[in-house]
Amino acid sequence: MVMRSALLALLLLAPVAARAAQALVVVSEPLTPSFREALDGFLAEWGEPVDTASAGRALPPGSRAVVVAFGGRAAARARRDGTPMIVALAPGYRDEGRAAATVRVAMTPSPERFISALAAAGVRRLLAVREVAADPDFLKRAAAAGERAGVRVDEGILSSPDGLPHLLRHDGVLADAVWLAPDPGTVNPENFGAAREFARARSLPFFAPAAGLVMDEVRGDLTVSFRECGREAARAARELLAGRVTTKVVYPPAAGDITAVLKSTSPSASR
């Protein structure tokens, strides 16, 4: 994996190969371990040569069948192109009037899988915190699925950066579990700490917004790994090329190592 990542980093810096590949992968700068992990997953699933580019540089010339963008900056760079696009690891990106097909890879499992994980954990009422600008479709679908499964999903909408303690005190009083949506405006150390303290004080399960944030007393049932996002991007690109994609959002499977994740949480977090 390390070799592949190193090779990828070299690829991003090197001039594009003379033979244009079917797919162009654009990656945000800086190339952090999150993006490396997702790219690793993408390459493992794709299994064919790809052209790669950094969002901070000009896109290489030539036409491709599909562009895969990892990160918001990469998506903003690649959207100017008229090629069908897969967008992953860009939770704040909004597709504004782009004519060509765009498929977004979510950073959550599907709403149905999301609800079944909650039901399995014994949750009956979840406070799901998202920022005001975030895409509400996921929670709308989760709420509909939850009605059928007996899990109520309350949306706590964060309208200011410092508003989480206030929101938890007022909207979280009836909840028996808390989840932070993987939104850029929601996930930061202050909010994460506040939500964890809130859940700890009330002995509620706190579900992490991303696999990297699963730790003591924080559960990972609702997370997907960056690697899985990368794999899902490759699957979506293949489906798009085959003309089989009809949806604008695809959901990676939930974290494959959930069992390991649950083992790492403390008993007080399990109800």
Binding site: E96, P165, P184, A201
Partner: protein, 644 residues
């Protein structure tokens, strides 16, 4: 050799461990990812209260407002660094609080720009903020951002010593409602209610507050209430709708007050204020946002006819439009904001402007602001504002700043700014007689048509550091500000016994140091302290500038969630001695150094109910803060909040 090996072993282990420790933890990496994505994709705002601001920004959150237990909006600002609040009513009867930033508190303090959801609140007659008339309710406020220092390059004239932006709650989530009742000493009683609902395409919020209270005690006879009563009713509407990619915000409000006054000539007054605002925000691309804002506001004041039967009512109204475009380019390293604004202000009165009953002021301005991230740790920013007004003249404002953040938790900044304080309608066109005591109308105020804008030059440097996983914040700022051609009200010769006019010849210099600390220990648990040191030098030696600013101020407090669903908060502030003085009268009062203590305790026995007991000015029954012969009383109040 054995000793050497024993000593070398930990070092060797440390060296071997170092590469592992240098690797970012998974959690740090995840937070970094979201932070980078936030910078890359979320819509850009003009002045965000972040580490990246060229001036220090303090934020009061809705949670802090709820925990404070205050009755008056201005009491929220009392314990903040760099701010001074004096409670008192000017002789005009309309400005119960004097709020100033970085010194020179007085009832016509027009170097501070106060905004409500981005809309200017200053009175276009005199450029001051009439705090008691602001049509906003405490239950509607989401946050208050206090930017200290000049910001005229973005906001235009009068944003000289600071900008206070009051942001109201935008309806969100499914149907919910809130009602509260509270009552207390001094014949205080208040009822408030609010309801809101929103969906995917829009939302709506309605709120109302009705308050009645007895008047403030008289300095000469504290048990007697100088004002017989104050009745205040406020109603607000806020809605939003999503139309395609655009979001439209609509808001409106009205505030109506009836109050008794200390003067026997005009024993009763009435103030009515209303506003309407429409705002459109539309993304023009992933890194580009267009914002348009149109608003109107109106204020009517009427003193019930005096013994001579004169009509002393006045009215002002204002139309405001502003458009701005923000673009992030160069992969987010450059952010450009540019825009233009137009304002029409009018003031109508049968007594303020002599024989002319209507005075107007048209203002046009254009502005450009640029931020450049030179390296990952260094950013520079600059701004320019060009503004002209028929009553205020032409001026240019600019700002330049350097920000250096060598590590994520620490940011240093240095800035140079030029802002202008513009003469307003009253400064230019005033022509009226006023009461100089016992109903004798022996004073005359004359405007000065040759007044120019007062240029304000500011130099400042500061540091902001975060510790303990960003839970602990320290901030330090030093500033030097010079206001030339300062607009003063001075005595002159004239047709009456006591004649006043405005002049434009003074120079005022302000120096200060601001230090603040806040520790957020957990949800509902925080404590803070801050210290402000300010000195003022005035070329003409006016007491109103030299001695009205307390040299030292210290504030400290906490807000702490307790077991059994109890919660306690306390704010305490010490203020050095100062001379209370007013631009609208000759009276002066030496106010000794004092402590003020406010506290609140609440209990939430269930999710929908909160019971509370709160007190302000707890350490003594009465205190004199201003020159209006009124005292600030101790207030104890209790009540209940119900939520659905």
């Amino acid at each position: 050799m054995r000793r050497l090996s024993a000593a070398a072993l930990p070092v060797l282990l440390g060296l071997l461990a170092a590469p592992a420790a240098a690797q970012p933890r998974k959690a740090d990496e995840a937070f970094r990812f979201f932070a980078e994505e936030g910078r890359a994709s979320t819509a850009l705002r003009r002045v965000a209260p972040t580490q990246g601001s060229p001036v220090p920004v303090d934020v009061i959150t809705a949670e802090e407002i709820a925990a404070s237990g205050v009755v008056n909006l201005w009491d929220l600002l009392r314990f903040r660094v760099g701010l001074d609040v004096i409670e008192g009513r000017s002789s005009a009867g309309s400005n119960r609080a004097v709020v100033s930033v970085r010194g020179t508190p007085r009832d016509n303090s027009h170097e501070l720009l106060v905004l409500l959801d981005g809309r200017s609140l200053y009175d276009p007659r005199s450029g001051v903020t009439l705090w008691e008339q602001i049509p906003v309710q405490l239950q509607d406020i989401e946050r208050i951002e206090i930017a200290r220092g000049p910001n005229a390059a973005l906001y235009g004239s009068n944003a000289g010593l600071g900008v206070i932006n009051i942001l109201t709650r935008r309806p969100s989530g499914p149907l919910k409602a809130r009602a509260a009742a509270r009552a207390g000493t001094g014949r205080f009683g208040e009822l408030s209610a609010a309801g809101e609902s929103s969906g995917e395409r829009g939302g709506l919020r309605l709120s109302a507050t009705s308050r009645t209270q007895g008047g403030a005690p008289l300095a000469a006879d504290p048990p007697a209430q100088g004002h017989d009563f104050l009745r205040d009713h406020t109603g607000n509407f806020r809605g939003w709708a999503r139309v395609g990619e655009a979001t439209i915000d609509l808001s409106a409000g009205i505030d109506k007050q009836d109050f008794g006054k200390t003067t026997g000539v005009k024993p009763q007054g009435r103030m009515t204020t209303n506003f309407q605002l429409a705002r459109l925000e539309r993304p023009l691309g992933p890194d580009s946002t267009l914002e348009l804002r149109v608003s109107r506001n109106e204020s009517l004041s009427s003193d019930f006819p005096d013994s001579a039967g004169r009509d002393t009512s006045s009215r002002f109204w204002q139309y405001d439009t502003e458009g701005l475009h923000t673009i992030s380019w160069g992969d987010g390293r450059l952010v450009t904001t540019y825009g233009a604004a137009w304002r029409y202000a009018a003031s109508g009165s049968n007594y303020l402007y002599g024989a002319t009953s209507l005075r107007t002021n048209r203002t046009v301005r254009g502005f450009l602001h640029q931020t450049i991230q030179v390296t990952p740790t260094v950013s520079i920013m600059g701004g320019l504002n060009n503004e002209t007004a028929n009553a205020g003249g032409y001026h240019k404002d600019f700002q330049g700043a350097v920000l250096w953040a060598p590590v994520e938790e620490h940011a240093f900044r240095a800035s140079y700014s030029r802002a202008n304080i513009k003469p307003q309608i009253l400064h230019r066109y005033a022509d009226f007689n006023f009461d100089i005591g016992n109903g004798f109308m022996g004073g005359h105020l004359a405007g000065n048509s040759s007044l120019n804008p007062s240029p304000l030059t500011n130099y400042e440097a500061g540091w902001r550091g975060l510790f303990l996983d960003k839970a602990l914040t320290f901030e330090l700022t030093g500033f030097y500000t010079e206001i030339r051609d300062h607009i003063n009200l001075d005595q002159t010769s004239g047709p009456n016994v006591f004649n006043m006019t405005y002049d434009n010849t003074n120079t005022v210099i302000l120096r200060g140091l601001e230090a603040a600390m806040r520790w957020r220990a957990g949800p509902g648990r925080s404590l803070y302290s801050n210290y402000t040191q300010e000195t003022v030098r005035d070329q003409d030696g006016h007491a109103i500038y030299l001695n009205t600013t307390p040299r030292h101020k210290v504030n400290l407090g906490f807000d702490w969630a307790l077991p059994l669903d109890l919660r306690a908060s306390m704010n305490a502030g010490w203020k050095d001695a100062y001379k209370a003085d007013s631009t609208s009268g000759a009276a002066q009062e030496d106010v000794p150094a004092f402590w003020r203590v406010d506290a609140r305790v609440s209990w939430s026995p269930s999710a929908w109910l909160e019971l509370f007991l709160a007190g302000q000015n707890l350490e003594r029954p009465y205190r004199r803060e201003y020159v209006d012969n009124l005292l600030v009383p101790r207030r104890i109040q209790g009540g209940a909040v119900v939520r659905w």
